[in-house]
């Protein structure tokens, strides 16, 4: 959202959503009458002349101020917010419910999806992510911990409990393990910019779905298949519950997602090529190119390869973003935000 050169940002924690206005300030006024340069108030009786304050340049400052606070609408932990294409409404989703808000109205919201069972003992799945369609303001999708995605049309009924479409890929029985359910839980769902596809991220892979085909994804990209044999350890150290995001590039020709050891992966949908890159200080000198990395899954480790066992699972890249137009990406490592740009050819 942009307005008057200020940007708006919607953010949330587990329970409360806030709308911020973010603006840049690069000038300040000097020469006030009622206060001096330090900001101290001047005694009005001592003022003998009036002057018009002058705008002078200053160091660029970014200010963020909360403009709206949307609270107390969620019983469970909020996992997603998504602004609608109408730029007036947005949705917020927690484990069991999705609410619809108007950006101007903070004291009420409408519940549009509710999967809470009458008896909590019968709970079998939770909502893990939700997003509005980029063009159709009545369409939204939400993913579940069972690895399925439901597409809802808000025009069909006030409470969208029944999907218009239901996306589910049949499970491969040969890969069943204790952790099959966990790794099939979807951590993120994103529409393509075109609105024709959507992408889901589960623990080991990224899947691209055609909205017109519910039976299976049109593409599956393995992010770190070498972790499949380590699931038990990852379960023990809780890494298996990490929620990775995914994103599309501006033209929908590539997708990107994060992994461990500060690695992130990009998949080119046209050439079917993929690359692993690392976001770290050492490999990110200014103007240096990122070198592709490779993880050695087993057997003899080649030079420059990293073995699975030496991956640092504390360094995880959960959040990535791709500029909607340019080839600029933002990658969030634990304490650092990296911004990379494609070299112009």
């Amino acid at each position: 959202l942009t307005c008057n050169a200020a940007h708006f940002l919607l953010s949330t924690n587990d329970k409360t959503i806030k709308l911020w206005k973010i603006s840049e300030r690069d000038k300040r006024a000097e020469g006030y009458n009622l206060k001096d340069e330090d900001g101290r108030l001047r005694d009005p009786f001592r003022i003998t002349a009036l002057r018009v304050p002058i705008l002078k340049p200053m160091d660029l400052m970014v200010e963020a101020s909360p403009r709206r606070i949307f609270a107390n609408a969620h019983t469970y932990h909020i996992n997603s917010i998504s602004v609608n294409s109408d730029h007036e409404t947005y949705l917020s989703a927690d484990d069991l419910r999705i609410n619809l808000w108007h950006l101007e109205i903070t004291d009420r919201s409408f519940n549009i999806v509710d999967i809470k069972p009458a008896n909590m003992e019968e709970l079998t799945e939770v909502i893990t992510a939700a997003e509005f369609h980029p063009h159709q303001c009545n369409v939204l999708v939400y993913s579940s911990s069972k690895g399925t995605v439901g597409l809802c049309d808000m025009r069909s009924s006030a409470l969208c409990d029944r999907h218009s479409k239901f996306f589910e890929e049949p499970e491969d029985p040969s890969s069943r393990s204790f952790f099959s359910e966990i790794i099939s839980s979807i951590s993120d769902v994103k529409f393509s910019h075109s609105g024709r596809y959507m992408m889901t991220r589960d623990y080991l892979s990224v899947k691209v779905w055609d909205l017109n085909m519910e039976s299976r994804p049109v593409e599956t990209h393995q992010v770190h298949e070498y972790l499949r044999s380590k699931l038990c350890s990852l379960y023990e150290n809780d890494c298996i519950f990490d929620k990775f995001e995914c994103c599309w590039n501006g033209s929908d020709s590539a997708v990107m997602t994060g992994s461990y050891n500060n690695f992130f992966r990009m998949f080119d949908r046209n050439t079917r090529r993929d690359v692993t890159l690392e976001a770290s200080r050492e490999s990110s000198k200014p103007r240096a190119s990122l070198k592709p990395r490779k993880v050695c899954a087993g057997g003899k480790r080649k030079k420059d390869e990293i073995s699975v066992d030496s991956l640092d699972f504390n360094k995880k890249i959960l959040h990535t973003a791709w500029h909607p137009v340019d080839n600029v990406i933002a990658v969030a490592a634990t304490n650092n935000l990296y911004i990379f740009q494609d070299k112009a050819n």
Binding site: D14, K15, A71, N72, A73, T75, Y76, H77, N79, D95, L96, N119, M120, E121, E122, L123, T124, E125, V126, T128, S145, F178, F179, S180, E181, I182, S185, C232, Y235, E236, D238, F241
Partner: protein, 312 residues
């Protein structure tokens, strides 16, 4: 057989996570706990269905070491948080569950990590389910010896805990009957079959609630006798029909734990931050972790292994 050991280990890890989730910052994470409960159920299914009679030991008796609570081995045992509850809870559980002489071997095998206990276990092969207390004793003794370390036992204890104190293998269960008292059947606390009064000091509101748990608690003679009697009394019989019930009951109980924690949230009108605390308290049913463990069906009937130890 590896599956069984793996399954057992996963069960113990899962239980630790569930327990920890109740005290962690930010409140219970519904999604994570749901996933953990699914893993728990899968592991339990495998554990129960893995036809592996070879796990049952035979052998000479040896003095088992009472398992003092120890900060567990990081790998599989539930974290220190578990420290207090287990043995007392277990005592409660014992009479309700079928004798599992074999079971003792299992938890230790993976933990020992070396071939010996596993071999001992396997060597027993074909032990009949209707084993008697002596054999159970023996099993413990052997494993303890094989493991060579007394702290294996507490590990085993904690590790072995299962949500329903139900016997390991369906087919192994010297069945009594529909003791579908695989206490995992969705029964509220009140319905619990006559547990030995000693049970859990906490359960009785004993003073020492917060404190020790020192493995085999003091009031011993009663619990000692009771389990043994039960062991001998149990006729051998297949117990498979109990499986289904345990299955859903187990998960249902787990969910109800989370559910009850949230019901407080739901009842209250949106009250901002208060909600979480209130939910935790109402769900918890008791101020301290020890009592929670005792009261919740899942944790209450958890560990026949440690009762076996107590018995010896």
């Amino acid at each position: 057989m590896e599956f069984k050991l793996e399954a057992h280990r996963i069960v113990s890890i899962s239980l630790g996570k569930i327990y920890n989730s109740r005290v962690q910052r930010g409140g219970i994470k519904l999604h994570k706990n749901l996933l953990v409960s699914l893993v728990l159920r899968s592991a339990r299914q495998v554990y129960l269905s893995d036809p592996c009679p070879g796990l049952y030991l035979a052998g000479s008796a040896e003095t088992p070491v009472p398992p003092p609570q120890q900060p567990g081995e990081p790998a599989a045992g539930p974290p220190a948080g578990w420290g207090e509850p287990p043995p007392p809870t277990v005592l409660a559980a014992w009479p309700e569950t079928q004798p599992q002489p074999e079971r003792p071997a299992v938890p230790d095998a993976p933990r020992a990590g070396d071939a010996e206990p596993a071999d001992a276990v396997a060597g027993a092969g074909g032990a009949s389910p209707g084993r008697e207390a002596d054999a159970a004793e023996a099993a413990w003794g052997r494993v303890a010896a094989a493991g060579g370390v007394s702290d294996l036992l507490p590990e085993g204890l904690r590790g072995a805990r299962r949500p329903c104190g139900c016997p390991a293998g369906g087919e192994d269960r010297p069945g009594a009957s529909p003791r579908a008292d695989c206490c995992c059947a969705p029964r509220p606390a009140e319905d619990e079959p006559p547990a030995p009064p000693v049970v859990c000091p906490r359960k009785r509101g004993a003073a020492g609630a917060g404190g020790g748990h020192a493995g085999c608690p003091a009031p011993d003679s009663t619990p000692l006798k009771k389990p043994r009697r039960n062991l001998e009394e149990q006729p051998s019989a297949a117990e498979e029909d109990g499986e289904e019930e345990m299955e859903t009951g187990n998960v249902a109980n787990l969910i109800s734990i989370f559910g009850s924690s949230f019901s407080g949230l739901l009842r209250k009108s949106p009250g901002a931050g208060r909600e979480k605390e209130e939910a935790e308290e109402s769900g918890a049913e008791a101020a301290e972790p020890g009592q929670i463990c005792c009261d919740k069906p899942v944790l209450r009937d958890i560990n026949p292994w440690s009762t076996a130890i107590v018995a010896f």
